[in-house]
């Protein structure tokens, strides 16, 4: 296992003018589970191919434990990869599939087989050693593919390309738990590519959010959720995503844009101008006092100590906000809103975390 460093890595597909990945910087510490999270087209798979050596960066460097591997191809790198769908040698039995990468690297057969038994026992597939992939379920096949990626004890990096896409939702969590357990017990450096934020945020110790060929933010799941560094990350992470309302800063005081509005924050170290205030639903508190917001609707979420818990939709002019509250609210009520926590965004980037 190794520390993985990307230095200013860019990649442009041959024949295309715009780079698919531009100026990526990333450090993945030894033994970490790292998730690359992004919508399709964000450049996740390209990044994965750069890490595995199936593609080489157009510029920049990739370092494994300080060694520049940018130009080494897949065969020469010590990397294992699990694909979206199980990729196995169909004419070989499960055990032969497992030992295949080891035999090619000159292992003794007895050592390779005992390693295969060890790994497959951990994955719970020791009973199907002699079966051919064709008779296995998709789930079992993917387990074998994962097992194959864990066979070599000298790999620097295990890459997983949306490995749970093909797996039924009901067994996804089981496989994810197994993966986490193996990652921790073997101290594997793992890069997990996914478009599913639940998967990324629960699996990984660190998450990189990707969009349009760049990494927008890298951090612990809780930091990504609590302190997005730009509006895209705020909106992309969480369900529902972060909500934004217009606000203006004048004389170091922020006020929501709209008539009659109260100050949100004072003593800000910001130039005057127009900003976006971002808040998650649970950061918004509604007060039963006359204010500039008006209740437009309420949806009952459940009950809490005899009182209904509702999701309120509030408006102020053309601004819209959702908030959770308890009790009974009528459409048309004028209310006041307090932000327990908020982030100010200047155009795209977060400027104040308050």
């Amino acid at each position: 296992m190794a520390e993985i460093v990307l230095e200013n890595v860019s990649y442009t597909y041959p024949g295309e003018s715009a780079p698919t990945l531009a100026g990526l910087n990333l450090t993945i510490e030894h033994g970490r589970a790292h998730a690359l999270l992004g919508a399709s087209g964000a450049g996740k798979t390209t990044m994965l191919n750069l890490l595995s050596g199936l593609l080489h960066p157009s510029s920049g460097r990739i370092l494994f434990d300080g060694v520049d591997v940018s130009l080494l191809d897949a065969r020469a790198r010590d990397v294992a990869l699990v694909f979206q769908f199980p990729v196995l040698y169909e004419s070989l039995s499960v055990i032969e599939n497992l030992v295949f990468p080891l035999m090619n690297r000159g292992w003794q057969r007895t050592d390779a087989v005992s390693r295969a038994v060890e790994i497959s026992t951990e994955l719970g597939i020791e009973g199907i050693h002699d079966a051919k992939p064709a008779v296995l379920s998709l789930f079992q096949k993917q387990l074998v593919a994962i097992g194959k990626s864990l066979m070599r004890d000298d790999v620097d990096l295990v890459l997983l390309d949306e490995p749970l896409t093909a797996v039924e939702p009901s067994i996804k969590w089981r496989l994810r738990q197994t993966l986490t357990r193996l990652q921790q017990s073997h101290g594997l450096t793992m890069v997990y590519v996914t478009h599913d934020q639940t998967e990324a945020l629960t699996f990984a110790e660190e998450v990189s959010v990707m969009a349009r060929g760049t990494i927008l933010q890298t951090g612990k799941p809780v930091d990504i959720f609590q302190s997005p560094n730009c509006r895209f990350v705020g909106h992309f992470i969480g369900s529902p995503g972060m909500q934004f309302v217009d606000c203006d800063v004048a004389d170091r005081t922020a006020r929501l844009t709209g008539h009659n509005s109260d100050e949100v924050a004072v003593a800000l170290d910001l130039p005057n101008g127009h900003y976006q205030l971002g808040a998650r639903v649970e950061w918004v508190r509604v007060r039963r006092e006359p204010g500039s917001w008006q209740v437009q609707g309420s949806t009952i979420l459940g009950t809490e100590v005899g009182e209904a818990r509702v999701l309120l939709t509030l408006t102020m002019g053309d601004q819209k906000l959702q908030a959770q509250a308890t009790g009974k609210w009528s459409v048309g009520d004028n209310v006041n809103v307090i932000f327990d926590r908020f982030i100010l965004f200047d155009d795209e980037k977060a400027v104040v975390n308050g």
Binding site: A74, V87, E90, S91, F100, P101, N104, K132, A134
Partner: protein, 291 residues
């Protein structure tokens, strides 16, 4: 009850197909079977002879030697065309500006009428004016397919390879194109050699199309008629007389309808049997492999 009547009535929908198949396949085939058990002297005079024609045909040394030649020919062309077709398909660029035109080029021999193929090679291999024949003569090999049985065989086999390898190439290429890139990537990460990639990824994935290719080539080569008829006329002597040509001589040339019909039935069963043996062995092997 109503339901079952309705279900049965649906069979009427199949009737037109049944009629067409009966008219075009079953009745002619049965006519042949009918002929094969009768001695037909003229339109009104015929005797039932049972299996006499079959006994006589099976004992015919000319048929036996034609059958042996036939099996030899099919075996040789299959053993060359299938591996050659795979090798060419592997060597073709998977995608790129050249691929389409190369595939088109390979399809050309398949589009040429069979008797034209025979004529092309008949001229091509002639020792006096043919490009191949003259060229061989220039380097000191006197090539005469009309007189030397070995030369006749070489020409026939070369012609069949020229004519039909393309079919294997196209089928194998289609099979190779359907392999997801992930398999090659996985093999690279596993440190697999080129030979292992072929043995463990490409060959298993080609199994389906190769089964089709072998079946088509087996059937076609067993029934080969036009090209040797045009090229060598079965000669020199009987050295390139295959089953269908011997049959044509009997049925059309000598008008021995009874023996020719018995021959046809035997011929049909031989082709069917060989294809069945091949197919079931492949399917069984696959079933056994998958357990």
């Amino acid at each position: 009850m109503d339901k079952s009547i309705q279900n049965n009535r649906a069979w009427l929908g199949v009737l037109p197909v049944l009629l067409v198949v009966a008219f075009s396949a079953v009745v002619p085939l049965m006519t042949v079977v009918n002929y094969s058990v009768q001695d037909i002297l003229d339109v009104n005079t015929r005797f039932f002879v049972g299996f006499d024609w079959y006994r006589e045909t099976l004992a015919d040394p000319r048929l036996q030697s034609a059958l042996i030649r036939q099996l030899g020919f099919s075996a040789i062309v299959l053993l060359i065309e299938i591996p050659l077709g795979i090798v060419i398909a592997l060597a073709l660029p998977r995608d790129g500006p050249l691929t389409a035109s190369l595939l088109l080029l390979f399809a050309v021999p398949l589009l040429i009428p069979w008797n034209v193929v025979g004529t092309i090679w008949q001229i091509f291999a002639r020792g006096d004016i043919g490009l191949l024949g003259v060229a061989l003569g220039e380097i000191g090999i006197v090539f005469n397919y009309a007189a030397d049985p070995a030369h006749a065989w070489i020409t026939l086999v070369a012609m069949d390879i020229w004519h039909w390898t393309s079919l294997v190439v196209l089928l194998a290429f289609a099979g190779l194109s359907s392999i997801a890139p992930a398999y090659y990537q996985a093999a690279a990460l596993d440190g697999a050699s080129r030979l292992q990639v072929f043995r463990y990824i490409e060959l298993p994935k080609l199994r389906g199309v190769l089964t089709i290719a072998v079946l088509l080539r087996l059937m076609d080569s067993l029934m080969i008629y036009t090209e040797p008829f045009v090229l060598t006329g079965g000669g020199p002597g009987n050295s390139t007389t295959f089953l269908s040509q011997y049959l044509a001589t009997k049925a059309v040339g000598q008008f021995d309808l009874g023996p020719a019909a018995a021959f046809s039935v035997i011929y049909f069963l031989v082709v069917l049997l060989l294809c069945w043996i091949f197919y079931t062995s492949v399917v069984r092997k696959k079933a056994a492999d998958d357990v």
